[in-house]
Symmetry: C2
Subunit: 506 residues, 2 copies
Amino acid sequence: MDRERPTFTEKFRQLKEIFSQAAHLRGIRRLLGWDQETYMPGNGQENRAEQNALLSEMIHERITSRRTGGLVEELFEAVSPKVPENDHFVCLREWKRTYNRQARLPSSLVKELARQSVIAHKAWAEARRSTDFSLFKPVFKRLVQLSRQKAMCLGFEHSPYDALLDEYEPGTTAREINGFFSDLVPPLQATVYKIAGHGTCPPPPISGRFPIEAQRVLVRLAATALGYNPASGRIDTVLHPFSTRIGPGDCRITTRWSKSDFTEAFFAVLHETGHAVYSQNLPKEHYGTPLGESVSMGIHESQSRFYENIVGRSRHFWKYFFPIVKGMFPGEIDHLGLDGFLKAINRVRPYFIRVEADEVTYNLHVYLRFVIERELIEGKLEPGDVPDRWNSLFMELFSLEVPDDGAGCLQDVHWSGASFGYFPTYTLGNIYAAMFLKALRQDFPGLESAMEAGDFSPVFHYLKENIHRHGQRYRPVELLGKVTGDKPSAAPLVEYIDKKYSELYC
Amino acid sequence: MDRERPTFTEKFRQLKEIFSQAAHLRGIRRLLGWDQETYMPGNGQENRAEQNALLSEMIHERITSRRTGGLVEELFEAVSPKVPENDHFVCLREWKRTYNRQARLPSSLVKELARQSVIAHKAWAEARRSTDFSLFKPVFKRLVQLSRQKAMCLGFEHSPYDALLDEYEPGTTAREINGFFSDLVPPLQATVYKIAGHGTCPPPPISGRFPIEAQRVLVRLAATALGYNPASGRIDTVLHPFSTRIGPGDCRITTRWSKSDFTEAFFAVLHETGHAVYSQNLPKEHYGTPLGESVSMGIHESQSRFYENIVGRSRHFWKYFFPIVKGMFPGEIDHLGLDGFLKAINRVRPYFIRVEADEVTYNLHVYLRFVIERELIEGKLEPGDVPDRWNSLFMELFSLEVPDDGAGCLQDVHWSGASFGYFPTYTLGNIYAAMFLKALRQDFPGLESAMEAGDFSPVFHYLKENIHRHGQRYRPVELLGKVTGDKPSAAPLVEYIDKKYSELYC
């Protein structure tokens, strides 16, 4: 009998227990976050900040203890073979990565960042409401300072921004991201100009009377059709839509509603459904280990953008859904016809708000944020100068003057949560999604006609089989290679946009 | 300079930090519990059980570590003077009590009880829905077994039930509770017979059309009038109403609604408002220490029963509220008149459901549960025999045959949460509430006329000043003595009921 085997097995079990507890604590922290955005009373803020800080500290302590470090090192050396097909190796590879990152961060910094984020969220919401950046500035400064400190602790080769980026998209660098934008921004701007130069004004947005109760029925119907299991989730109302995974069997969606334009909630829900279906399909039996976690935020966003745009804003999708929506809101969209409706939900125009942006201008919005946060983290831009920098960059990219900071640098929630490095994953998501579409089309030539008949199972089965069920077995780029046979490239996205908008604005 | 002082201060700070973390974890666990009852999707159950078990284990580990025990022993010896006016002493007295209780419980038992409770809750809900005790029996057996084990670990002088009771009402014994019931049950039964013998049928319950949206407005109005701060809480919908304190600034109420009888939600909310106002008034600056915690469940229930019954079912209260309710639901209660309405909300009749019981029969319901759970924990009753025992006791007390277990032993949530020893605190609450009323009347002779004018501040200022703000400074009986000048006694409750119902059924 091999005496090493049982030792490895037992030590692996111990390490798994530590990381499983950390995973449960993160699930609990996500419930706290969900509650904070949905139902928490106003005066609960301060207490929530303390709860959040405590959980973050406890997660950090568990992951970075000397015992964890020792086990990670020892078992990673011992595990064999070191291939993604070996479950133990995958876990140890990711635990090692996590340990190495987290152990570099002092506990006090982790706790302080968690606490400041909750406080900053409140300040941001107030600043945004009164479109007054000065209300946000002090705590924003503090968050930038803490985030730069974090990047220094984590270490980096070229830019401190890489250290933060690595949290959301492991292995990616600012230089690579910049490369994608170099390939994307000029053709996207060209498309915007072409459409503008086409002479036709953008079609008006959807406008009518869409009772919220009926909208609730509609979005639930759409989410379910796209593979979301409503018994393992719910849909709530928030200011800034998100989806969150409290744990297996509990993956929640949030949205906001507009009485005059049902597409606001509809596309928000499609987007979050993309995330939530990914979460629901992660293998339950591996919850608490890397094999039960999503691979990266870029891949996560590719799922949401795939659902929202590639599926949700396509002609095939609406061939099925347009009559349903007409029936639910009699007389409100009939006059548009399917063609008019498709133009309305795909209207391209330079505008101030990212979350309302079309597929073409969206990545320009992300680019702007990428430039600014990179400059902030690299110490090339003072936090107090963000409004000016924002507005001048916006003028460069969109030829528009930002009317106030509410429609400018205060519009997004991310910086109030110190999520520097998150924004680029949206564009990565768009890039990956276009690559997945190409691959899916090759595998299912009947994709379009299935969608037109209301059968979206080819989509969600494909994504489950090729992406969701793997958890973190493959690194992002590796997974992409397996599914598409290609390296990450902006070309399929440029091609997709070019084709789609040439047809729409022909 | 005294060299001992800083040592004590520093060690006290360390101990306070440990218990403060435990308090935050309990607050987080309460949020999980609230979510479970309000919004959690059905498939989230299993994950929630794991989260709950983990938090319970972590709380237990913190409180019972050797370090905690050492600090508690050392500082309790050192603290001086040992009087309730000394903040340090109060904390150490209660921490010692908590440590001594918790350190006797093996961590595995704590975790298993937490996990089984979540599972049992689901089984109970299903058993109740299908009125089939057999669905609940296996896990119920397990809970009784674990709870008996818990009692054995905790230790006791006379009955293992005392060990469990002590968790909810420190210092009380089954013998004392039994004494209260001996004083209460005969006169209450006599009152029931007297009212029944009076010859008049009980008035019909309220029945009409009461839109839920209007009810929401009404209950918020009433809760606020009674001192509840809505910015530090919220009101949600559940199957079994409760109130919970997530932390300072976040004390939530839950209720259920009936479209045909607004009083169901109304009195549930008044009851929970009593709890929630207590929670909101606990000194925020002491959160995390015993000075920021409620003194006992008996005192807690005295607040809720005070609000629900002594205030909420009184003529004075309705002199103010009756016209308001008439205005909100035109034509629905006008025909009753104030007198008819008061009779309807104070109708006395033997019936199956505790939470719908009137003030007179309520304590008989509690008595029945007390008898059964005491027998269970003392090993004199098999869990499988509970339905039979329940039904025969019910016949004895109410002269009614229980139609099914849904209207019998499955009606309450408590046992599914292993909360054996909780029920008697309802009757203690009623007893204490009547004592508080007596004291309050002596201090505020103008109480009734203030209430009739819609001014309830004498009530909530009195309770805040005399009870809430003290946290756990005084032990329950000590506090009662300070406020009322008396020892706990059922006499004021008997007197209150006798007077009220003689007048109503004169």
